[in-house]
């Protein structure tokens, strides 16, 4: 008995196990697929859907994500809407409150209230915090990171699709996926070139280069990608296979209302609207040329129509991409009263509604004055709260609907944007009546219930156009671009409604000097790990 045991033990000890052990080391990750898994027909579609939406627009694409700040459509777009004076915020995460604190406000009685923050100018703040040590505290980091995440996703899709074997009409399937990828690359470059003073062109996955290019070159690259998407889409004849693939790329629950799968022609119309946007938002209105206006006319005439699908996002209960309660800036403005949510409704948005505009009645309720922390800015006290799902006026648009599946989030362009760009082009090319007609069309489309604008007075129609863009396109990420191109950032705004810091006085003749930085410097997190190579364009906006 004893002997057997010892022998057994000895054998155990002599290390014969060493050989058998080695196989045990061969452990693969049993949980997740490897990148090779994406190179199949279903795999590349899964990648082209997941990477585009998740890496490009959600918290999973932002290494410095902060839930109070939000991701893309409820965060980055929020920065634009704050600087466009559509909303404001009290939360200080990523200095978001400071982004919409104007340099000074002159009240009706002549009192000048300077920006109470330290530093007291938004430009100075943005420069102070554009250091790598601020990580996600630098507001300029997020749009850059998400949009390059989107670009990388599209680059990866373009690389993988070439390695994928498709069944059936491989060319159509492949080109549909490529057109999709170029669309999003175009959008990523459009966002970068429309907010950063310089950018990078990157056409390979998970890599970069140090050749920073001026913002104009980035917009050119955006247009080039939109053109590639249009060329590929325009050449497709097998519409059945195209629709199948496009229908698999767009999440099924997005495909209602404006989120329906576009035909190839509708796909191209969307691209035209986006190309028109690239021109209009990046050129001060004062320096737009006739050629540019005519280009806008051409593009918008071939742009999104009233009944065309527009890549509208939607929500589901599980919040797979967008969550019902916080999918957009408008959704994050909802609250019990004028204190709203993270975002507060600006009095300057409300004052841009014409009297009797049903869109105001349907979407906003007036409350007692909500007074925010007075040390966070003087311009953001408000009486207005946004109403989730609207107040029930039939046929009138709602800005936000927080019931799962009821959101309509304009991820790219929209019919209203296209028509109002058309209106502006008409206005500046001498067709004032035509401009008024386009404005009226949009108002009717949104159920504004306003009497048709019949004026042919340039100033009147121009003002109505300004107001209409403010109202019709609010929360869609265009208001800062508009403030910039209309010169509002520098020349400010007169006759503004501003509530004094004690909540007692509703000023209606206040003047606001915004003074915000028009194009942001390249974020330092990029520069710390990818410094500008020799010959790069300036990475810092010379504006002081």
């Amino acid at each position: 008995m004893k002997k057997i045991k010892i022998t057994a033990l000895s054998v155990l000890l002599m290390g014969s196990m060493m050989m058998s052990c080695k196989d045990q080391l061969d452990i693969q990750n049993p949980n997740q697929p490897t990148p090779a898994s994406a190179a199949t027909e279903s795999g590349v579609v899964g990648l082209a859907q997941g990477a585009i939406y998740i890496n490009g627009f959600t918290s999973s694409g932002d290494k410095y994500y902060d839930g109070v700040v939000g991701a893309f459509y409820n965060g980055v777009i929020g920065f634009h809407e704050m600087m466009g004076d559509v909303v404001a915020a009290e939360a200080a995460n990523t200095y978001m409150n400071n982004l919409s604190a104007p340099n000074s406000v002159t009240l009706d009685d002549g009192t000048v209230v300077p920006n109470p923050n330290s530093p007291s100018q938004q430009i100075t703040l943005l420069r102070n915090v554009n250091v790598n040590a601020q990580q996600g505290g630098n507001p300029g980091f997020h749009e850059w990171a998400l949009m390059y995440g989107l670009n990388n996703a599209a680059n990866s899709v373009l690389e993988v699709v070439e390695k994928t074997t498709f069944s059936g009409d491989a060319a159509t399937k492949k080109n549909t996926i490529k057109a999709w990828a170029y669309l999003w690359k175009g959008y990523a470059y459009s966002r970068i070139g429309s907010i950063y003073y310089a950018g990078l062109i990157n056409n390979a996955s998970s890599s970069t280069n140090g050749n920073y290019l001026a913002k104009e070159k980035i917009i050119d690259e955006s247009n080039a990608n939109y053109d590639k998407a249009a060329a590929l889409s325009g050449a497709i004849t097998n519409t059945a296979d195209y629709s199948t693939i496009m229908g698999a790329l767009i999440p099924s629950y997005f495909q209602t209302g404006k989120g329906a799968v576009p035909t190839t022609a509708q796909f191209i119309k969307n691209l035209n609207t986006l190309k028109a946007r690239n021109i209009i938002v990046n050129t001060p209105v004062a320096s737009m040329t006739a050629a540019q206006w005519n280009q806008i006319l051409t593009l918008t005439n071939a742009g999104v129509g009233a009944s065309d699908p527009v890549f509208a996002g939607n929500t589901n209960t599980a919040g797979d991409i967008f969550s019902p309660l916080n999918y957009s800036v408008a959704a994050r403005s909802v609250g019990a009263n004028a204190s709203g949510g993270t975002y507060k409704i600006s009095e300057r948005l409300i004052q841009d509604f014409n009297t009797g505009d049903k869109r105001l009645a349907n979407n906003f309720n007036q409350f007692a004055v909500w007074v925010g922390n007075s040390d966070r800015g003087n311009a953001f006290n408000t009486r207005w709260g946004i109403k989730d799902g609207g107040n029930g006026l039939a046929g009138v648009m709602v800005y936000t609907n927080r019931t799962a599946g009821m959101a309509e989030l304009y991820m790219l362009g929209s019919y209203e944007e296209n028509e109002l760009m058309k209106a502006e082009a008409k206005l500046y090319t001498g067709d004032i009546a035509g401009a008024a007609t386009s404005i009226n069309t949009v108002r009717t489309y949104q159920g504004a219930g306003l009497a048709a604008l019949a004026s042919t007075d340039l100033a009147t129609v121009k003002e109505e156009l300004r107001k209409e863009r403010r109202v019709a396109l609010a929360f869609r990420g265009l208001s800062f671009y508009d403030a910039r191109r209309w010169g509002v950032l520098d020349s400010g705004r007169k006759n503004a409604v501003v509530i004094s810091k004690d909540g007692k006085t509703i000023n209606t003749k206040a003047s606001i000097t915004y003074g915000y930085l028009d194009y942001w410097d390249v974020p330092d997190n990029e520069l710390a790990y990818n410094p500008a190579a020799a010959g790069s364009a300036p990475i810092k906006n010379p504006k002081q």
């Binding site: 033990l9 080695k22 080391l25 061969d26 795999g43 290494k63 102070n128 209960t317 599980a318």
Partner: protein, 916 residues
Amino acid sequence: MVGKIAGAQITSGNGMPGQPVNILLRGINTINRGTSPMILLDGIQLGTTDLNSIDLNTIDRVEVVQGAAAATIYGAQGANGVIQLFTKKGKNGQLTIDVSSSVIRSEYLNIGGLKKANMHGFVTNANNEVVGGSGKPLTLDPTYGSYSENVIWNSTDPTVQINKPYDKNLQYYDHFSMFFQPSTNHQHSVAIAGGTAKSDFSMSLSHAQQETNFKNLGGIGRTNFTSNIGAELAKGLKLRSITQLIYTKNTINDATGRSIIYSVFNSRPFANYDFKDTDGNYPVYFGDAVGVNGANPNFVNQYTSSLINKVDVVQNLSLNYQFPKFVELDAKYGINYQHQENIYTYLNQTGNKNAVDQQYFYSNYGTDGSGELDNYTYNTTFQNFLASAYFKTDFQKDFGLSLPIRTSTQVSFDWRDRYYKEYITYGLGLPTYTPFNASQTPTNRIASDYKIPFVTYGYLVNQRVDYGEVAGISGGFRTDYSSAFGAASTPFTFPRGDGYVRLSAFDFWKDSKIASTVEEFKLRAAYGEAGIQPNQFDRYVTLNTKTIGTSNSFYFPLSQSNPGLNVEVSKELEIGTDIGLSLAKGTPWFNDLSINASYWKRSTDNAIYNIDAAPSTGVGTLKDNAFSLASRGFQFSLNASIFKNSDFSWNFTTNFGKQTSEITAVRGGAEVVITSAAGSTGYVLRAGEKIGQLYGFYAIHSLDEKLPDGTFAIAEANRGNYEVASNGWVVNKTTKAPYFSTKQFAFGDPNPKFNMSFINDFSWKGIVNFNFQVDWVYGSHLYNQTKEWMYRDGIHSDYQVPITINGQTGAWSAFYRGVYAEVSRNGTKNYFYEDASFARLRNLSVAVDLVKAFGIKGFRKLQLVMTGRNLTTITKYTGMDPEISSGANASAWDRGTDHNTMPNLRSYQVGLNIGF
């Protein structure tokens, strides 16, 4: 163990039941894996069961192996040192039954006197009522339980003072007494032990129940069964089986307590959180007036709950055969299994008027207030096999040689296999009736189905030679394979060695006069290297998957794995001495003094960290062997019998440890700025500096002070605008706001300069035992993030403290608010970086044995024990407890933040131990 191990820093960073202690034995050697040492139970690694799940009453002794030089022997994961626990054994011929029972009363510590201001600075009307934007007094809406208007607080107005009482429409509620409460806890155990010449057994059953010190937040109950059975099967052949069965039921609704404490501390004190609406429900959010970060804990506990059931099994078997001569064979096998089920319930909140009105809901996976049921299941199976052969010779005894040489050759093989499995499901949308279960939720998802297999094995060869009592030397190596590197990997081999000389064993010593006082004098040195492996999947590049609606999609993880990742290599050199003294032979005083002192130095190359990638690559961070670390320390312990005669004894122990760790290199040279796992607070990791320094903005104490970069904080031309306020901080004379730099700088190393403990044991005739322990931590710092948050909304009582600025004395809101808001709101600022040195009466205990005292028959022992813990603390720290650590447990760098964490407890325990 706190204070009992020289050189180790063991701290209790969170007073919630079940929270682990932070253990740092020797240096910060890895960033990736933290500072936790390996735990061995009777020689077998405890691979999944938490140290704090073990019933320490069943532990006979604890041995700590601190450095890599020694710990290499115990396995590839031993780089952070090893804590060895040995289970009690039964003794030959003695059957004992021990029953013990104790009751413990605990209350939370608030050493620094943290409290809320009972004054405010809000705009009031002529009647001193606080008014809102409408000019009307604020009132709590009785239907919705909220204030519809905000208070008006011109917080940075240099004329506003925090000096108005809450005596009109807003009343002051003491949220501390509303929510923090003492707890009464129990411990009971029964143990039976005995043995014969050839076998022994010891069994114990115990139960401990501990409630949280926060109202209705739940508690932990733990039941342990331990058995230790040994038998000599044949001459020289011993089999031993040690079993631990542990069942833990945890109902704590917020494991760390941090979010619920945060919601209380950030509520202005006029919120009456005991208010219920007409439906009998607690409102959750009382409006911005109460503070945007406030929320009602009563709501949290009304609508959410947590139930964690955990079963741990530890089964160790060991077989040892000792040949009559030369050879000893030993095989150990242990299996450690843990099954844990967490059920989190978020009731449907759509019936709560306040929650619906404020759109303020609690959910985890859900996106609204319709409730959810989450079920987390975790299983871990850990197996450890360890086989050793020892070949021992004694030249004198075995070979009859005159040389007093003994040799010992050890060849060991060990194998560890860990299999972790998690499965998480959730159902969204709960009915409003009860009972319900997951089958009644309309949306169900599997959130996670994740497995981590891991295998590592290796062998150790070690040769030891001793020459009499005079000297000894050993050397060897360890080779390890790891599945983190796959089948094709080459093993990592690390050398070790040690040696000693006992000078006191030489004749010259023995003959000298000094030998009568210095009885033992030994010098020793050791060197060792250890490999710290990457985590199992750190080298495997994968895609993430996500269900989008009805389709399966792929996306890229933000943190990318790196197939080129290498093992981290930690090296240690230790030298030390052991001295035994008898100072006054023949008297009862100062005999049996022993002193152990060691100096050690270690370094780690290739420490793994997620390094930022340029965002334009689309990659967030990349795992890389990016850091080199170095640390060194000195430790010292003194054990002494101060006095001993037949009736009375007094033993004294003091332990001292001093250590420091720094980063010697970072790949690429960039500074790495990181936020505490607790949130908010910034740290920096930078080459050439101490690891884990707080990082932020500087306030200054004199007008001509220079910032750490050598530049003047305030340009000479602007100094006229500033002065030093009566509290010592430089402020702007007009705005009363403090100065802060616009750049960020490191504040210094928050880790203690040294820590020390003093332990005294007194015994009188074995009848009365009295002991106490004082712990002293010197030079540690804490970032008081708790306070900074309470500065946000004027909640902290500091706001009431008057200061003089520009000749005006008052409780100036603009100063305090400015501390929070200037330059960066809630930015990390040296104002909140406080000295957290402390001395603490850790333990004070009196035990009286009634059997011995009164000669009671029928009992072996009848002992009454009264123990107090954490009775007094001396510190300058202004937070609740200078021992708090809110960052990640056992983190390499996240070691200096106090951010809304439950402080440690002061407890009074009365116990009765009965032995038969």
